[in-house]
Symmetry: D2
Subunit: 377 residues, 4 copies
């Protein structure tokens, strides 16, 4: 009998990248077993997808209603323990509400809800039902962000006195400058996406991270947003002045018209004694700036990191976490070959590489041994 | 019925990091189903581990002999299709040999064998048995290495004229300078580790990558290795001069006494028209140096990359591949909470983060709407 | 008869770093001859300093009054043509005024004046007198800033739509948190330093650079400044929201309490087609971000740069401008030896280095020639 | 009477970049007075150049013979004290020899001589004549190289055990692949340039720096050089294995066919306790790698640096040394305006910048004071 957590999923089937992300993450520490799912409103599609990814199809459901009613018939020891919501944004709130009312733990993609009122309602339900609820602000999972949080908590930088967060992207640029596109994309339609584009999509990430790493809360904000065009109702850029408990101040800059930027999210926190900086695009480095001292660059996996940070690192220092993906690609290439789909030695090293490698090692040793002379391979 | 590849594993149980790496990689594209395994010589330990990671225990075997004989009794449609060898190095050769002789496809950790002769023997068996064989030179799976290979093949840098590879680590330093440790560690014992330490462990990675990205083969080598101490039999540092087809030359530097280096592997290939450079510790950047042009920095996921590169990227530009790990850590934190092991809001964002976030968004909009005035949170 | 410009200097004697900076800069293109000066209110000190730096002492003056009256007695062909003001800040305005009223061209350190009214007054005098006036906003002299300006002017990034400038320092930190120091330093005394500390000292640099590189003017600002302590009258940190001609917006962040930051001034301008970024601490790199293209990194001295940029580069690509300073240090070391002050082979390479070098070259050639064998040095 | 050192120069007139470099360097610490020169074999050209750069023409000489005979007629207190040789390479040796035989101190561009024998001859003369002799291996003047030297001397990294130097350029690429150009360029003509191209030009820099920073000498070398074409007599690429006192080894890689590289010179020294790394293209950073510690990045001007390093820094931390050049460019622009050659506000900030700046400061203060409201500029 497996010790794994019985896990349900709503949405995320087919080509969904976010679905892949959640499944890989769930598999990473051997802790979750995908047990029930409603990947798609069309149950046949859900079942086909379940087969494709190799999970049993007997607990594939049409929708959340069916999931809840059918799971309720199972003994508690078999029933799913937690459900991930990775459906379109407007479904996050009703699904989370229904799940918690039925007593389920929830893992929910962001944004959690469409409005603040809905968010408060969910919080009230959670307090009543005592469910667990995780919101996937993914960046809080980076080992060096966790280290940043711990170092601030431990007083390494002294009392916080200045916060600077910047989250710049440029992806909306080709849309916003095209009258046709900007009036038709769902991203800029308040009905479909809520009242805000830039602040809701990325500003809120920066905001959550500020509070996560500093452990202090923003008291008040003053915002200047930009819509660029009068016929565009949604903010696509903005700067928010932040005030914390007096006299701490900060600034949060977010933009989707920072042309050419990909996902340039940076966070800097300055205290009385030192500063700490981090960049999402190079997440393995944490910079400690101390007056009159050499800049120090901390990296994951070292014993100088906190337990919280080390708990999130799987490999020794010097191996960027992306090495999992590199290995994944090799397994992918081999899978194509096993299935007879394609055979491309560019996609995985073959036995010939092994032969060459052993020959290289022995030849290098011989060259050295014989007095640093040339040897053929 | 699952479409997944039926996958067997030898070794890699318990706390093995390499085991985690292979399982996560196998799960990354929903292509493999862990179906049979001999994690440990002690079958009870293997079974306990299977339960821990949540896989059926009926095909957990004592050893490779049992795996082969028992799997042979199953219909081909149920039998495992490929086996990963992640046991100690000296077992790679006999296991790979036995598996291929029994007709199995193999995924093998490096080093493939202990000697060149063994490598040739495996190659002969593979040719006879027509099995698939993947050697996990993991770095070939990085999207930007694949892009580098393709750009060289397409002539972007012109004919290759100079190759420079450097692989510097410092981990052996505390061992090598301690007479007791250097005489007792298995890494420096030729009986247990083969004839070479530095060249076999990392030099061969650099060598394989040189041939992988350039598509040309090294003809001859001249090596100068360093053992530092007379009582140490194994190379722990060395430089190898390389000659390719005339007049191409190159150099391969490898060291385990480059104190303070973690896994600093860099590769530069210069052609008649341009150069390409890559660093393992920041694997998402590929540098194109063209005479008289601005330096160009290529990143994964962009449409300017080759199909081979894009096939290995899962997320949009700007998201380092390590984001899978960040999400994995959030799932891990939630798993601890579900299992009642611990509850730490530093390990996953909670509903309170969702509430704060929605409040922030609405308050920022209100501040802007009311004429850029302060609003409390 | 020299073709050099006859140059006068006010202030900048003794150990003044800013004096060194102006003299080296004036000497850099062989264009200025230091001809007259009032380095110090004490004329004897001025004369001693003139001797120390090796210029004639006959035109060393007690003060600006004497400089103006004495120079007026000389024929125009001998009279100084331009005067640099590098005295304490409060003297900038009266000196610049007096000089221009007497018909002199002026090079003035920043801040130009203590108030906006004084600035307007200077501008009116200049218009009347038709003098030349240069304000040493030094950063505009960087080759890559000039390139940034030209590329924006030429439309490389399209119409500007977003501006982001950040100027973070941490130097005031040890002062501001010490009640004694913050009440006694002249930097925080409005009588001595004007009404503003952070905005006047560094914010204005960022502001000037924004208008310099974009060629567009800020229309209005909304500022939130920080004083940290109630007993401190001067801003030491602040964020300024910027509005240009509608709909262009921007943000200017400046701080002197960004603990551990040295002189971290960055500038980013995003247009409809691309973005451009620059960092003062690594001034030789200009980053061009274009949607869907590899990041391009431009460096000084390349023919792809504009004439304005190339005019400010003296050396070939790859030699950071700081190489002048490296050579200066070698001359300094040799000067100490010539003067018999000290002789330290760490301060300049000696003939022994030359001997070793020639031996190395010939030995390396011999090693190669004799078939890649070891040769002693 | 000036305290400056009376300085003579051979060569370096007209558009010579190396001439500018030496003059600026000599002026940088107010220590040298350019007093005598033979810029060009044609005395009229020399005199015109002296006028252009504004120095007296009475001690401009036709050649070194005349310089030596005429200077000898002057009293010692007026006679030049040191002569810089910045003529073509083949003249370095005879000029240095003649100067030292006449008792002069010498500053000599590299290469010091054409052969090792000549170098030994110069060394013997120097020992006899007790002159001072500086060879301008410029890179030894960088503050962080000096710091690297001192830290190694002080044992910060422990006993040196591994040295790695790489000096990669690509400039010869367009020449070497053109049969016509490679047979006609003086750089590849042994008659004009000596026996070596790559090793003599850049390899020797790397070699000198290795010995400079480590303080230990190379004992023997094994070289493999590359000429690429059979009709090319000169090395344009090569790798040199290095042996120091047993068991220290190292490698020196140099290339002029590393296509796209500008002046990529890096130096790494690893000791028993830590490693130190430096890059010429970003010379303000020195990296200290210590096992199990965060990477530390040292920068110039900080009090944690040695006196030797601080002696070569003129400005506070955060100002890259290139700021001298930026200021020089502003002086250059102003010089053009004073001379009526051109007036371009892109070349120096004008009074209008001062007015805008003061307005910005006052307006920002007012916006803050009035409660964070918008104010027009």
């Amino acid at each position: 009998m497996s010790n794994k957590i019985r896990w349900g999923v709503l949405g995320g089937g087919g080509d969904s990248l976010i679905g892949v992300l959640h499944r890989v993450a769930a598999g990473m520490f051997d802790a979750y077993q995908l047990t029930a799912a409603a990947f798609n409103p069309d149950k046949n599609i859900s079942i086909a997808f379940a087969e494709e990814i190799g999970i049993p199809t007997d607990r594939i459901y049409t929708d959340l209603d069916e999931m809840i009613s059918e799971e309720a018939k199972l003994p508690e020891s078999e029933r799913i323990q937690v459900v991930s919501i990775i459906t379109p944004n407007f479904l996050h709130f009703p699904m989370a509400k229904q799940l918690m009312e039925a007593g389920y733990n929830v893992i929910c993609e962001k944004p959690m809800t469409m409005t603040y009122d809905e968010a408060l309602e969910l919080e009230a339900i959670q307090e009543e039902k005592k469910c667990l609820f995780a919101l996937t602000h993914t960046y809080t999972g980076y080992p060096m962000i966790r280290q940043m949080k711990k170092m601030i908590a431990e007083g390494v930088i002294g009392e916080v006195q200045k916060v600077d967060a910047q989250y710049y992207q440029g992806w909306i640029n080709p849309i916003i400058h095209d009258k046709e596109k900007r009036s038709s994309t769902w991203r800029l339609d308040p009905e479909k996406s809520g009242k805000s584009c830039c602040m809701a999509d990325i500003g809120v990430h920066a905001y959550q991270m500020i509070e996560y790493v500093t452990g202090i809360e923003v008291d008040s904000v003053l915002a200047d947003l930009n819509h660029l065009y009068d016929d565009n109702q949604m903010d696509i850029d903005g700067t928010v002045l932040l005030r914390f408990e007096k006299p701490v101040k900060g600034v949060l800059c977010a933009s989707q018209i920072a042309t050419g930027e990909e996902n340039n999210f940076t966070l800097a926190v300055y205290g009385k004694k030192a500063g700490l900086k981090w960049e999402q695009e190079n997440p393995n480095y944490l910079y400690l700036l101390e007056e009159g001292q050499p800049l120090r660059v901390l990296k994951p996996g070292h014993s100088y990191n906190s337990d919280l940070s080390l708990d999130g690192t799987k490999l020794p220092p010097g191996h960027p976490e992306g090495i999992f993906d590199a290995m994944g690609n090799i397994y992918k290439g081999m899978a194509k070959a096993i299935r007879g789909q394609s055979f491309d030695p560019a996609e995985f090293p073959t036995i010939h590489d092994g032969v060459r490698g052993m020959h290289f090692i022995e030849t290098a040793l011989a060259s050295h041994h014989d007095g640093n002379v040339w040897k053929s391979l």
